[in-house]
């Protein structure tokens, strides 16, 4: 069974952390992954940097720009993951934009993911209908879970469609925004979280965007299976480096 599905079966609220591969330094990937696992994080999203990250705010944009300057590429990342996979068992997901994957070759990319021990992909600019008609069979062939986003504006009909095409979890974007744009939740989010919880979807939901501390983590996981932290973690790494990751994680859990 895919490591993501195994993890989702555990009877606990999950914490997933995003970091940008190649940031702050090109060879930080393995240390960050190890430290996150040791600190009790449940899942890791590895950001494959892209020159034009449309869905990201300034924090992740800046880390991506630096990572590219440092020389991060799909090939470099795959090599790093192949090495680190021998010593960690945590589910690993690559979050990246579609163009670098298209240039690598979608099938070659999925095959390589399977080979090095990547469990899933999050591709914000690959729409669900294109995935469904053109790429789903390739992902399935290599056992790669593709994770889709929903937002407060996504219609119920479309949520049910996304649920039917998904086979892992659904990434619930907490509010209409780019990453790192808003902190905390209001009434609008609470209503949205409850609405989705009551839809009885087959896939569990993990909430991302706007989560940065214990309070927001607790709020998000009241209704959902887990929560994802991205920009707040990238900021921590920018300010404190990669040796105090457990301090950051302890403020969340």
């Amino acid at each position: 069974m895919n490591r993501i599905n195994q993890k989702l079966q555990e009877d606990k609220k999950l914490l997933s952390i995003y970091f940008t591969a190649g940031y702050p330094n090109i060879d930080n990937t393995s240390t960050i992954i190890q430290n996150l696992e040791k600190s009790g994080v449940d899942m890791i999203e590895i950001g494959l940097p892209f020159s034009d990250p449309l869905a990201d705010g300034p924090t992740i944009q800046a880390s991506s720009t630096q990572a590219l300057k440092n020389g991060m590429t799909s090939q470099v990342l795959f090599k790093q993951i192949k090495d680190i996979r021998k010593s960690v068992s945590i589910p690993l997901i690559i979050m990246g934009y579609f163009n670098p994957m298209l240039q690598y070759g979608v099938e070659a990319f999925c095959k390589k993911c399977q080979e090095v021990g990547i469990d899933g992909l999050i591709i914000p600019d690959l729409p669900v209908d294109v995935y469904h008609s053109e790429y789903k069979s390739i992902f399935e062939k290599y056992g790669i879970i593709n994770v889709f986003l929903i937002t407060p504006q996504t219609s119920d009909e479309r949520i049910h469609y996304i649920d039917s095409v998904s086979d892992g979890f659904i990434y619930m974007v907490s509010s209409a925004s780019t990453t790192g744009a808003k902190v905390g939740f209001g009434d609008e989010q609470s209503e949205y979280f409850e609405r989705i919880a009551n839809m009885n979807l087959k896939n569990p939901q993990i909430i991302g965007f706007g989560i940065s501390n214990n309070e927001t983590f607790t709020q998000a996981t009241k209704h959902a299976k887990g929560a994802i932290i991205g920009s707040a973690f990238v900021k921590h790494v920018t300010n404190n480096g990669i040796d105090t990751i457990n301090t950051f994680v302890n403020t969340i859990l």
Partner: protein, 395 residues
């Protein structure tokens, strides 16, 4: 099967196009997709659009027989004078259409991206006309080098927001506008300035610009006794003036379609914007098209002396015209374009935008027959480029 160059029901021109957008943008783009053709077909929309094009933009723009230029190149050259439109370029055809669209969709906030500032001015203009709030994203570097247009946009009541990310030019301004739209999903309409972006933008922009070829047909009939020229020629950055110039001739193989891209300092100089020559299929700003990128799929920075052609991609229609061979693609260097621009000044008394000068440089690359009728889209006027001309020719 008969080949067609129009968009299909899924939003593709052949293999190019589509809507590769984050889920956050889906409701906005889907709302537009479901409504744009319906709204454009409404008689009240048509009436308002045509009235504004006539009385506000000043259409029809003349189709002018360039006698001295024709003599020099021994062929029959007509110039489609988009430079005489209000605000100085073809851009306003699209912004008029889109502001009327935005009103009918109930939007009360407009965002736009701009490179040289022409689309920013055209958008700020129609927002002033409609009394709607307008925010224009512009790369920090472009703000510095296009000061007069920044001032125009501000005078028209719009807000200019610098794009500080990436290379701080057009592609980054487009990214910032898209991010704004993600953050404001309900009340905002994004007026894209070229025939790019997720479906339905390339088709909608092309249809608003198609007035150019619609007029060419009847104007040429009056002058030459026939509707179809032998060739239509346009410069291409994203490709909106080209799309409008070609539109009514796309499926008529008797009319040759010629595109001139910006070669910058030379196609292989590393400082170029000749996307068809240097690009590869990929995804940029929500559509599948040809774009300049690294082998790893990172979008690269283009270069051209003309800020309006300085874009690493090209609209999906044009990728299709290139791939199928329906269009002949050429590129003109900075030097060729500047020389052709100055030549038009001195032979015809018309100072063209540097973008349009690239189209005029076609005569460096192709020889036409004496009885060929060649229509060139003169997409904009050169006022905005005066400083560039001064620096280049040391005037």
């Amino acid at each position: 099967m008969k080949e067609t160059y129009n968009i299909n029901e899924k939003g593709y021109y052949g293999e190019f196009g589509g809507a590769y957008i984050p889920e956050m943008l889906y409701p906005n783009v889907e709302e537009l997709r479901q409504n744009y053709l319906k709204i454009m077909a409404e008689p009240s929309f048509q009436e308002e659009f045509n009235a504004l094009l006539k009385d506000y933009v000043g259409r029809p723009s003349p189709l002018y027989f360039a006698k001295r230029l024709s003599e020099k190149y021994n062929t029959k050259i007509y110039l489609k004078r988009e430079d005489l439109n209000h605000t100085g370029a073809h851009k306003i055809n699209n912004t008029i259409g889109q502001i009327l669209m935005a009103k009918r969709l109930g939007k009360n906030r407009i965002i736009a991206e701009t490179g040289a500032g022409q689309h920013g001015v055209a958008t700020a203009t129609v927002c002033a006309l409609a009394g709607i709030e307008c925010i224009v994203y512009m790369g920090e570097i472009d703000i510095a080098r296009q000061a007069p247009n920044v001032a125009r946009i501000k005078m028209l009541g719009a807000k200019v927001v610098p794009a500080l990310s990436g290379s701080k030019t057009l592609k980054d301004a487009t990214n910032e506008a898209i991010r704004d739209w993600i953050n404001n999903p309900v009340d905002t309409h994004y007026i894209i300035g070229s025939a790019i972006g997720p479906h339905p933008y390339p088709d909608m922009v092309t249809k608003f610009q198609s007035i150019i070829s619609e007029e060419i047909k009847w104007q040429l009939k009056e002058k030459e006794g026939k509707e179809n020229p032998d060739y239509v020629v346009a410069c291409i950055g994203g490709g909106s003036n080209a799309a409008g110039t070609y539109y009514h001739f796309l499926n008529n193989k008797d009319v040759g379609i010629i595109a001139v891209e910006a070669a910058g300092k030379g196609i292989h100089s590393g400082e170029s914007a000749a996307t068809s020559a240097l690009g590869k299929e990929g995804i940029i700003h929500g559509c599948k098209t040809l774009l300049m990128q690294t082998p790893d799929g990172q979008i690269t920075e283009p270069y051209s002396i003309s800020a309006g052609l300085d874009y690493p991609g090209v609209g999906p229609l044009h990728s299709h015209l290139y791939k199928t061979g329906r269009g002949e693609f050429y590129s003109a260097t900075d030097d060729e374009a500047m020389t052709a621009g100055l030549e038009l000044c001195q032979l015809e008394g018309i100072i063209p935008a540097i973008e349009s000068s690239h189209a005029l440089a076609i005569f460096e690359h192709k020889t036409f027959k004496p009885d060929d009728v060649v229509v060139i889209s003169l997409s904009g006027r050169g006022d905005k480029d005066l400083q560039n001309y001064i620096d280049y020719f040391k005037l």
